[in-house]
């Protein structure tokens, strides 16, 4: 009991939830534990994992980013528009990918500057940006999906494998490794933790608080862009409504993974496990034929539950 309590205080509810869910699903549905399904879970996790990594950076800085959802959609539209307008497939792909990631980075930059320099609440800014990005995506695409993209995009970035491992999984692993390095071994990471934990103390220690806060949103934007490109490759079309669930799911994943909404606390590994948990949950519920409406209810509850447990953990630490 004491051990369980210690684990809870240290890393949060995540391990308990994950074990409980896996047990539940493997009992309820024999297909859940099959190799092909597990691979499927792995592949699906990658997209959420990358966005969660970005989301986590903003949460560490005591903010969050709601715009990740339609920033993905905007990326998807920009990427596909550029790709269909260039003839040579290789050039088209390169330009499209750069344009897509660039767009999302710009969205992040706009978020970052507004939040850091004008000190507006991240909630308002990124909520507004969510609408802006969605509107732009719909405007550019006239609300219809864009097809006829180079085939290699789907075969390489979407379905391709290197050394037997799906490309998206490799990309996600590389990103997670980089973010891990950033957070644990570089100045930037330390500064994120410091300014999220106590902005004033960080400022007095000579940390360029505004610059680094903005940087967190920029990085979040870039990672969102990468996700947007890879999702576009996966569905082989530009979709103006892609990623609508991402804000909720990425925040939930980070928080369940022990990243504190108060800022300054959390690890990338935890956040990634949070993403795994959410995807596992979705997958298990799909297998059990639970309607997507009910799934929404469950997801919302899960987020609230996670935040409550986070608060509870804080009080246990103190006592």
């Amino acid at each position: 009991m004491d051990l369980l309590k210690r684990i809870f205080v240290k890393v949060g509810v995540l391990p308990f939830l994950l074990v409980a869910l896996i047990a539940l699903f493997s009992l309820a549905e024999h297909r859940f534990m099959s190799m092909s399904n597990l691979l499927n879970v792995g592949r699906q996790t990658t997209y959420l994992a990358i966005v969660t990594a970005g989301q986590m950076l903003t949460i560490l800085c005591a903010g969050f980013d709601l715009s990740v959802g339609f920033s993905v959609a905007l990326t998807s539209i920009v990427t596909s528009m550029v790709m269909v307008s260039v003839a040579d497939p290789t050039t088209a792909m390169l330009l499209g990918i750069l344009a897509g990631i660039g767009t999302a980075t710009l969205v992040g930059l706009a978020n970052g500057i507004t939040i850091a320099v004008f000190r507006v609440s991240p909630f308002v800014v990124t909520l507004g940006m969510l609408s802006v990005a969605h509107g732009l995506a719909l405007l550019i695409s006239s609300g219809v999906p864009i097809f006829n993209m180079p085939e290699q995009l789907n075969t390489i970035l979407g379905l391709g494998r290197v050394w037997g491992i799906p490309v998206p999984v490799l990309v996600a692993l590389a990103i997670v490794a980089l973010i891990w390095l950033l957070l644990s071994r570089t100045r930037v990471g330390r500064y994120f933790y410091a300014l999220g934990g106590n902005r004033e103390a960080a400022r007095l220690s000579g940390i360029a608080v505004r610059k680094y806060t903005a940087l967190a949103y920029v990085l979040c934007g870039t990672l969102t862009g990468i996700t947007g490109v890879m999702l576009t490759a996966r569905v082989a079309s530009g979709e103006p409504n892609l990623g609508a669930n991402l804000p909720l799911e990425s925040i939930a994943a980070a928080v369940i993974g022990g990243v504190s909404l108060r800022g300054g606390e959390g690890s990338i590994i935890g956040a990634i496990f949070g993403a795994i948990l959410i995807v596992t949950m979705r997958n298990g519920m799909d297998l059990m034929n639970i309607s997507s409406y009910l799934q929404m209810v469950v997801m919302g509850c899960l987020l609230i539950f996670a935040v409550v447990m986070d608060q509870f953990r804080l009080s246990m630490k103190g006592r």
Binding site: R187, N198, L204, G264
Partner: protein, 518 residues
């Protein structure tokens, strides 16, 4: 012998990995001040938190007027007459002073908040305590000393039989301290028992009736104040022989490091001019609100400068900013470690190196090994306990947190130190270490601005003393030969002798700060 008011028997309390209280017994008589004394981390605050219902003890019993009690929470304790002022505050920053004072026990009229009555009562209480505070001010915007006042006022408003004061004077200046002591005397007359914690020994002798010394979570002695002298207390506290607290600082000031001419700020400082030289310690004294902190803040770039010049090593600084100041070799330590000094949820190590990370970089990455060994060295040198550098700094006792913050000055090269209340909340042993640290830095040639509301230390350490009054410099005097009275009369802006004679019953308390002899 009167009945005991409060009695605690064999209290034990452990935190993960630390036995904060080990079989401690403690009692309190009505109408007495029982002092708790001990090193940082000895368990004083933990004991008071157990007594006031914030922590549940692992073992042991608490009796209130002979009846066994188990407080479920601080609210429960308060409703039974145990009221507390904690070392780390429990105010809501977004609310005003009045709102905080009445939090949880708001006055109502016909079911609506009776704002006028609350405001009136708040004014009365503040006035009663002699605290010069605007009751409508937001607590978040107040200084540490002012928040301390709100916290004290809050406790004094309740009907109580036991009052716990955990380092109430840590950032107050003499004016408020004198008043606080008068009120303590009044409460004693009403039969209230007071548990009083402070690291200022001279103060303890004035207010205390009995004193208990804690060391490593154990109660090593309980004495009558009359039997206790400084040497005895310190050796009981440390378990070692007594050592002189104030080191002799033998430096001859050299080149001018910082020169300030006619500085004024938006916050109301004006006509500030002084020089600090290499190896010189410039003390800044003054009452709360006199502007002594603002001088430090303005120089570091935390307050907008509206006029005058700041010349650092011959280079005129247009508009100081923290980043720029650090680059010029100015290091500032804020008075409020929680608000501006430390990132509480992060580790000791990260807090220690926060302002000097670039120095630990190798090819863009932080050299964790070197960082760790540096931090371990510093933690050992400053005697931070427990020295577990990967643990969140929140788990350290107040004084140890302070030491970690100050030791930031050891990780980079500093030409000018600005300390604002450097010894706030640290024990006598640690104060000595801080003073030695000052001495070492001054002897290495650093200039030091030492802002403090504890007059004794300003008098003992400074080469020169600037006394602030109402946002301006009231007086500048050499530290050698300056007497407490000189400084105090400048502090109050008029002849100090006067208030002593006007003070009711405070004549012998008149000078709250006696120099520590020895």
């Amino acid at each position: 012998m009167s009945e005991l008011l409060l009695k605690a028997e064999n209290i034990t309390k452990t935190f993960p990995g630390v036995k904060a209280l080990d079989n401690v017994s403690f009692d309190l008589r009505p109408g007495e001040v029982h002092v708790l004394f001990g090193e940082n981390g000895a368990g004083k605050s933990t004991l008071t938190k157990v007594l006031a219902g914030s922590y549940l003890p692992d073992e042991g019993q608490i009796y209130l007027r002979g009846k066994k009690m188990a407080f479920k929470n601080p609210y429960d304790a308060r409703s039974r007459g145990v009221s507390a002022v904690y070392q780390e505050f429990s105010l809501v920053p977004k609310l005003t002073v009045v709102e905080n004072l009445f939090l949880g026990r708001e006055l109502t009229k016909h079911g609506l908040l009776d704002k006028e009555a609350m405001l009136r009562q708040a004014r009365e209480s503040l006035e009663d305590l002699g605290f010069d505070l605007n009751p409508m001010a937001k607590v978040g915007g107040l200084k540490r000393a002012e928040r301390q006042m709100v916290e004290i006022t809050k406790a004094f408003q309740e009907k109580m039989s036991v009052l716990i004061l955990d380092e109430p004077t840590a950032s107050l200046s003499d004016k408020e301290v004198i008043r606080l002591f008068e009120l303590i005397v009044r409460l004693k007359g009403e039969g209230v028992g007071i548990i009083y914690i402070s690291h200022r020994i001279d103060e303890l002798k004035k207010v205390g009736d009995r004193i208990s010394v804690l060391r490593d979570g154990r109660n090593v002695a309980t004495l009558d104040m009359a039997e206790a002298n400084e040497e005895k207390l310190i050796s009981l506290m440390t378990g070692r022989d007594y050592e002189e607290i104030f080191p002799v600082i033998n430096t001859t000031p050299g080149k001018v490091v910082l020169e300030v001419q006619n500085l004024s700020t938006v916050t109301g400082l004006h006509d500030i001019s002084f020089k600090v030289r290499e190896g010189e310690i410039l003390g800044i004294a003054g009452l709360v609100g006199a502007g002594k902190s603002r001088v430090g803040r303005a120089l570091y770039g935390l307050e907008k400068i509206t006029g005058g010049t700041v010349i650092m090593e011959g280079y005129a600084v247009e508009e100081p900013t923290p980043i720029g100041s650090l680059k010029l070799g100015v290091m500032y330590f804020p008075a409020d470690r929680h608000k501006e000094g430390l990132v509480l949820c992060r580790s000791v190590r990260e807090n220690q190196t926060m302002a000097a990370l670039p120095l630990f970089e190798k090819r863009g990455l932080i050299d964790l090994k070197r960082e760790e060994s540096t931090v371990r060295g510093i933690v050992k040198k400053m005697n931070v306990r427990p020295g577990r550098i990967h643990k969140a700094i929140n788990n350290l006792s107040g004084g140890n947190q302070q030491k970690v913050m100050l030791s930031r000055g050891l990780t980079r090269e500093v030409k000018l130190f600005i300390f604002d209340e450097a010894s706030c909340g640290i024990d006598v042993g640690a104060k000595r270490e801080v003073y030695l640290f000052l001495k070492e830095q001054a002897e290495k040639g650093a200039a030091v601005i030492f802002i403090s509301s504890e007059l004794t230390e300003v008098l003992h350490l400074s080469h020169n003393i600037v006394v602030m009054h109402a946002g301006a410099m009231a007086k500048t005097m050499p530290g050698k030969g300056a007497s407490e009275e000189d400084v105090l009369s400048a502090c109050f802006g008029y002849d100090y002798q006067n208030i002593c004679n006007n003070g009711d019953g405070s004549q012998d308390n008149g000078s709250v700060v006696n120099s520590i002899e020895g």
